[in-house]
């Protein structure tokens, strides 16, 4: 990590800022940790005191905003700490993460929200936007203090990978949260149908003898909650949607004008259930990996804008959590370092333009979390933008440079990637947070 300088000029870069519909070669000036302005081609000269960085034609975009991340803190520091997660995030071009409230203890007290925020402000750490627990202890019984948690800095409310099971509680949550303009994030899986299942119902689960979860478990929960959002006027978001039926329901709700949004994670548009092969627990997720037809439907929903964001769904797990019989193994994969590279597969195969792919990783999640543009809440640190005056959180990457994912050699502590061995195109060359270089050297 290099030291702070008062001014930096990035030159010979392709500037992409999806929020501003900007995609063209140019220069970007950083002063005192803030973005000081953009020059279009032809501009010359730089402030005398400025450090000049020649991007060699690489893309310079806002530091990525990852809206669904689990960190081991508090309570599971052996899996991951803010420090190790920051290393992985910066290597992936991510400068802001929204952290799930499902630590031990759950983030259901304003003091815990403030603690997480301040951990993200420490030098060398990724910025943290904490989710507040939707219910006390994330136990799904009583509402948490949504007002006080919002005031402390919680950006949205969820019980993580635990669905709000009863319609009554979801109705209350959406209704109460509306009073604070707070977003409720649901895990889209009807828990009584999911039961103890660990793979998607179908031929593969049958052959492997694994208890299945029907894709309808997602559709039923999404349909129910859309109806509740319509009834209450609440702000509803679905995390990691993974089925065609699910995104269809969301697409239709939006056509009717409802404020329902969703995100997905790389494993749902880059892998299908075959990845679990011979009981490969590193490919065990919640929701489980789906059939190819659903993967294609998720790609289509990315292309047509039904899906608002791609989040890593980073879930650090130790080898001990994974080296178990499939049904007993922990679900989830590490995802920070691979988020950009896997998302860019959809650019390279023509599903998305580069700017649209980056919007899903920067401006759109930032807007959902209330840290950018017109939706930005007072007092928050702006993210996901190159606008003048914003913190200089930047990602410099070469969209065409290839690299290979190797479990055991990923940056950060957690190594439980489902993408082991995968060749990706799109390599991060450097990451800056508040104008301080936090990843990469040279260019």
């Amino acid at each position: 990590m290099s030291s702070t300088t008062s001014a930096i000029v990035f030159e010979n870069v392709r500037l992409i800022d999806p929020a501003a519909r900007l995609d063209q070669p140019g220069r970007l000036l950083v002063r005192d940790g803030l973005i000081a302005g953009i020059d279009l081609p032809g501009a010359e000269g730089a402030p005398e005191d400025a450090v000049v960085i020649n991007g060699g034609g690489a893309v310079l975009c806002p530091g990525l905003v990852d809206m669904r991340v689990e960190i081991g803190e508090p309570g599971h520091e052996y899996r991951e700490t803010v420090k190790s997660a920051s290393r992985a995030a910066f290597a992936g071009g991510i400068t802001t993460v929204a952290v799930l409230p499902t630590g031990t203890p759950a983030i259901d007290d304003p003091a815990m929200v403030r603690l997480l925020c301040s951990r993200g402000e420490e030098p060398g750490h990724v910025s943290i936007l904490p989710y507040g627990a939707l219910t006390k202890g994330c136990r799904g019984e009583e509402l948490a203090e949504i007002g006080l948690l919002s005031e402390a800095g919680a950006v949205a409310f969820t019980d993580g990978a635990r669905a709000v099971a009863t319609a009554r509680l979801m109705k209350l949550a959406l209704t109460y949260a509306r009073g604070f303009s707070a977003m409720v994030v649901q895990h889209p899986e009807e828990p009584t149908l999911a039961g103890s299942g660990c793979a998607t119902d179908g031929e593969l689960a049958l052959r492997l003898g694994l208890p299945g979860i029907p894709t309808a478990a997602e559709a039923i929960m999404i349909a129910r909650d859309i109806r509740l959002a319509e009834m209450t006027g609440g702000r509803l978001h679905f995390g990691h949607v993974s089925t065609g039926e699910g995104v269809d329901l969301i697409r239709r709700a939006r056509e009717r004008g409802l404020a329902v949004t969703c995100d997905t994670a790389p494993q749902y548009f880059d892998l299908n259930e075959n990845a679990i092969g011979d009981f490969r627990t590193y490919a065990k997720f919640s929701p489980p990996l789906r059939a190819e037809v659903d993967r294609l439907a998720i790609c289509a929903a990315l292309a047509d804008g039904t899906i608002d964001a791609v989040a890593s769904d980073h879930t650090p797990r130790d080898a001990d959590d994974k080296r178990l019989p499939f049904a007993q193994a922990a679900a989830g994969g590490t995802g920070l370092a691979t988020l950009l590279g896997v998302t860019l597969t959809r650019y390279h195969d023509g599903t998305l333009s580069l700017s649209d792919a980056l919007a899903l990783l920067t401006s759109k999640p930032a807007a959902l979390l209330g840290v950018s543009g017109s939706s930005r809440k007072k007092g928050t640190r702006s993210a996901g933008t190159l606008e003048t005056g914003a913190p200089a959180d930047l990602c410099l990457f070469d969209p065409d440079r290839a690299w290979r994912v190797i479990a055991g050699e990923l940056p950060g502590h957690a190594q439980n990637t489902p993408f082991d061995g995968r060749a990706l195109e799109g390599k991060v060359l450097g990451t800056w947070k508040s104008g301080v270089r936090v990843f990469g050297d040279g260019v």
Binding site: E142, I146, G147, T175, Y176, T232, G233
Partner: protein, 319 residues
């Protein structure tokens, strides 16, 4: 039976002889009660009340739900007018032994009560009783439906302090959804052309309440601005266990009445509360005890208003 028909005849109409609710009452029915109550305020003050007014009349306080202040208030009102007052509370009655509401009505009817003051946890219970008894039934609070004498005493308190009721801006804050006090006040204040604002979290003040002809606000800052009257409601503990409100501290932080929020209302705005108060939950102690608070006076007005109601109903019955 004639009550409950169109035209607000539930009260003092041509054949109305009960007070079951404020809904449907016309200002021409409300104002005479307040005027009569004013005279009782003066008489109560000088301890000279017309003890012959209800002499020989029997008033039964029939309380299926615990209450101290409302029951006592009706008891005093009846006694100051010379009625024979009997208190029946459910814990002592045969209701606990399985008697139905209508059996109870038949029993009381046989005792020839003239005035029946009823509180019940079920909305509509007094209306059911009213169909089966010869006495005048006064609703002293039924479920989450109405508490008409509370609205009348609140109106009297406002009128005495502000000189009028018409056109006032009144903010009713807190657990409106489960409040019979709020409903009766909404009906009365709307009938009197007030601007009524309901303020509270959406779980306690559903947006659909706007259909009653009121404004709905979810922040105190919006709802209290330039109000003439701030009426706080009690937050029942079961709202926390029922999940509508996460905690008392959060409730006070966002929906409690403190000095800063009260300053948003008009200078000298009245602070009201039907009691009993939860200090530090819906209201700051300093505000409850401040000069702007008329909470104790509401209790005083309660006796006078109930005297007026008993008087009018009993005399209506006589003629």
């Amino acid at each position: 039976m004639a009550e409950g028909q169109a035209g607000g005849s539930r009260f003092f109409g041509a054949s109305g002889r009960h007070l079951l609710g404020v809904q449907g009452m016309h200002p021409s029915q409300i104002i005479p009660i307040l005027d009569l109550a004013e005279t009782y305020v003066l008489m109560n003050g000088s301890r000279k009340t017309p003890r012959d007014r209800l002499r020989g009349r029997t008033l039964i306080n029939l309380f299926f739900e615990d209450s101290t202040r409302t029951r006592t208030s009706f008891e005093l009102a009846g006694k100051r007018l010379g009625a024979d007052v009997v208190n029946m509370s459910v814990s002592q009655s045969s209701v606990n032994k399985g008697e139905t509401l209508l059996d109870t009505a038949a029993t009381l009817n046989a005792m020839r009560a003239d005035l029946l003051v009823v509180r019940h946890s079920q909305s509509g219970a007094p209306a059911l009783l009213a169909q089966k008894v010869d006495a005048s039934v006064i609703n002293a609070g039924d479920g989450t439906h109405e508490h008409p004498t509370q609205a009348l005493l609140d109106a009297l308190t406002m009128r005495r302090h502000l000189g009028r009721i018409e056109g006032l801006t009144v903010a009713i804050c807190g657990d409106v959804a489960h409040s019979r006090v709020a409903r009766s006040n909404i009906h009365l204040l709307c009938a009197m052309s007030c601007r009524v604002r309901l303020v509270g979290p959406p779980t306690l003040v559903p947006g659909a309440m706007a259909s009653l002809g009121v404004e709905v606000h979810h922040t105190m800052e919006e709802g209290l601005r330039d109000a003439d009257v701030v009426m706080m409601l009690r937050l029942q503990h079961e709202r926390m266990s029922g999940g509508q409100v996460p905690s008392a501290r959060e409730y006070f932080r966002f929906y409690g009445l403190d000095r800063k929020r009260l300053e948003l209302a008009k200078p000298g705005a009245l602070v009201m509360h039907p009691g009993p108060m939860n200090r530090g939950v819906e209201i700051d102690s300093q505000i409850a005890d401040s000069d702007q608070s008329v909470i104790r006076e509401q209790v005083e007005m309660g006796v006078a208003v109930r005297m007026a109601v008993l008087d009018r109903l009993a005399r209506g019955n006589r003629s």
